[in-house]
């Protein structure tokens, strides 16, 4: 609606001619180029919609064909290409050589940390602290299958009792009660003897009776004094570290039904370079020998 141009009496400025309850709006015109810049941004947005995938329609990728998922794949490929020389060196080296070379070691520690979080932490914990119930701690100073770089490398590569590798860590504890080798009182006596190895026996007579049974049934793997045997994956029984619990009930349960933890063979799943990095990383967690 065309309106009359009025001058505001106070400021001497033109009004827009719009009036609300006696209030008149002063006309302070914007520069035209400002308006054109605004139109230019709209035009830019239209061009953008054509070139880039801006419409929520499957397959509408825009004329440039740019897809976020492909960009990620490209980025990953670039990162892998950047790491390739280092990875081939890590593949060729032994864990000992990696641990001795500061450059390789720094790379292996960083890569090992990531690989550990991806593959190992779900059972062994974020810092390798393990968990009660058969997930050994990798940060303490006891190892079931050995804590040298070679032993760790072998265990990671071939796994434990997973039947995925011919060289896997393999041993089997008998189910002493379930298979009728020992009676229930005998199991109790053996458990008392095992407790006595760490001076925790509650019934000295039972422990003495159990000593004979222990010598007969357990010593072959766990050793005379319960010192364990890493070749057989038989844990030490005369220390403070208990994989399935230190209390008598847990020990009775272990003797009665046996325990057999399982770890997959990672040699089939991971790049040898990553296994080397994991070996060096796990060795550094605090228990490396």
């Amino acid at each position: 609606m065309p309106t009359k141009i009025e001058k505001d009496s106070l400021s001497g400025q033109n009004t827009t001619g719009h009036e609300w309850d006696g209030l008149k709006e002063l006309n302070t015109p914007l520069p035209k180029w400002w308006l054109w810049t605004f139109y230019a941004t709209i035009a830019f947005a239209l061009v953008w919609v054509v070139i880039y995938p801006a419409l929520p329609i499957p397959g509408a990728t825009g004329t440039s064909g740019w897809i976020a998922r492909e960009a990620v794949v490209r980025d990953v490929q670039q990162a892998e290409a950047r790491m390739a020389p280092m990875m081939s060196r890590l593949r060729a080296a032994t864990p000992q050589q990696i641990a001795a070379d500061p450059e390789l070691r720094a790379f292996a520690m960083a890569g090992g940390r990531g690989a550990f979080a991806n593959n190992c932490a779900s059972c062994h914990g974020a810092g390798g602290q393990g968990a009660l119930g058969g997930f050994p701690s990798l940060a303490d100073d006891e190892w079931i299958w050995g804590g040298s770089l070679e032993a760790i490398h072998h265990t990671i590569t071939h796994g434990v009792r997973a039947n995925e590798s011919d060289d896997q860590r393999q041993s089997m504890m008998p189910r002493f009660l379930a298979d009728g080798i020992l009676t229930r009182p005998q199991v109790n006596d053996v458990a008392e003897h095992v407790l006595s190895l760490t001076n925790r026996a509650t019934d000295q007579a039972a422990a003495t009776r159990g000593a004979a049974l222990f010598a007969e049934n357990c010593v072959a793997c766990h050793g005379e004094k319960g010192e364990g045997n890493r070749d057989l994956g038989a844990p030490r029984l005369n220390d403070q570290i208990w994989l399935y619990g230190a209390d008598k009930a847990s020990i009775v349960q272990s003797i009665s039904n046996a325990r057999a933890g399982v770890m997959p063979s990672w040699g089939k799943r991971l790049d040898p370079a990553i296994i080397n990095m994991l070996t060096v990383y796990v060795h550094s967690l605090g228990g490396g020998e």
Binding site: K4, I5, P29, L30, P31, W33, G125, D239, S284, G286
Partner: protein, 499 residues
Amino acid sequence: MGEIKTPEKLKPEAAEAAPPSLYADRQRVYPKAVFGKVRSVKWAVLILCLALYYLVPWLRWDRGPGMPDQAVLVDMTNARLFFLWIEIWPQEIYFLAGALILGAFALFAVSSLFGRLWCGFTCPQTVWTDLFMFVERWIEGDRNARMKLDAGPRNGAYWSRKVAKHGAWVLIAGATGGAWIMYFNDAPTITRQFFTGDAGAMVYFFFALFAGFTYLLAGWAREQVCVYMCPWPRFQAAMLDENSLVVTYRDWRGEPRGKAKADGVGDCVDCAACVHVCPTGIDIRDGQQLECIGCGLCIDACDSVMGKLGRPKGLVAFETLANLSASAAAAAALPPGPQRQQVGMDARRVPRFIRPRTIMYGAALSVVALVMLGAFLMRSTLDVTVLPDRAPLFVRLADGGIRNAYTVKIVNKTHDESPLSLRLEGPAGLRMVVQDVEAQGEGHYPLARRADGITQYRVFVTAPPMAQLAESTPITFRLLDDAGRLATSQSSAFLGPKP
């Protein structure tokens, strides 16, 4: 429903005009050359600012081998900010924030005392626009010649001048963008690489960005940046009051305007010299305006006219609004003439520089400056951070002992690489082992440290079996220099099971 009656005043008027446009064409401004005191000061400030900007990257500062020898350098690749002898790490970026806060308070304080000094003299928009106008005047001539050229035919003379002007502008803009990238790269190296094409896409992008916007803002947009884009003119009104120095027209002396020889008129001869020199194209005689950047060129223009007429200078001057009203009140009753001039000028007082507003800005400025100075003097060049392992908090060992693991980071901001000796202070019985480091003597580990970098160690602390320790025991790691003096220390905790 009855008929809706249109209110009388909203009915179309008889003599209808087209509605006013909400968008305005740009009114070209052709500032005229001006000479005088203010202009001289402006030239000096312009030369100083531009010289600083273009030459500072070329200043050298020896920092020893392997370190950049550029006095002022923002090293993005290595995340360091070099300023003469100061080297700022990313975690100390609060020094930059502090400098900006300092700058803001300084700006507030100066504005409340002296008005728009920043806008009129030192703002990069003003400085580069001034430089571009100087080039324009040199190639196309002064105000009248330029107006004639633009209004005249598009002939060879027109195009040759325009091409020469824009060519010169592009060169200056290029030098501006070029100097910008020198603050982020070694100046001699990047200059060579820039011309051989080895400088990298990022460098060329930022060069083009800064060169392009210099050309656009100083060549084309000019006063429109101040009038339409810049937020500062909008809120600086909060800093100014009637005791701030601003560029003012002494209307009590100038009005009524009239010819120089006419009787009963004020000193303003309405020659419009002040309007012709104004870089934002306003008339200062209209009073205080948002568009006025306070550059004071109209003062020079008016002073030279008054000088020629043999009248006192200062019809347009840096003056406070308080003095302006005082003069106006004193001179109101008198007719135009030397007596009115005398009475008006005598009514002025020395501006009140000390007032609550300036005291508060000054206090804020001092507090920030003191905090910055304190933070800088207490800035450590050697930090040790101790991060205890969180998973697991502690490890039970086969013999029943308890072990904690820590990551010890030595942040060395100097170039001293001499090893530091790490010692553990805590309850008797705690033993410390540093992974991959051989102990020298009892519980004493020499730790190498990288110059200007972070070195990281993994430290194990073990409590013997049956040690009677609380769930959390305070311990302290101490780093001693080779003379056995304490370099730095960091306290931490040794954690164990609930006793």
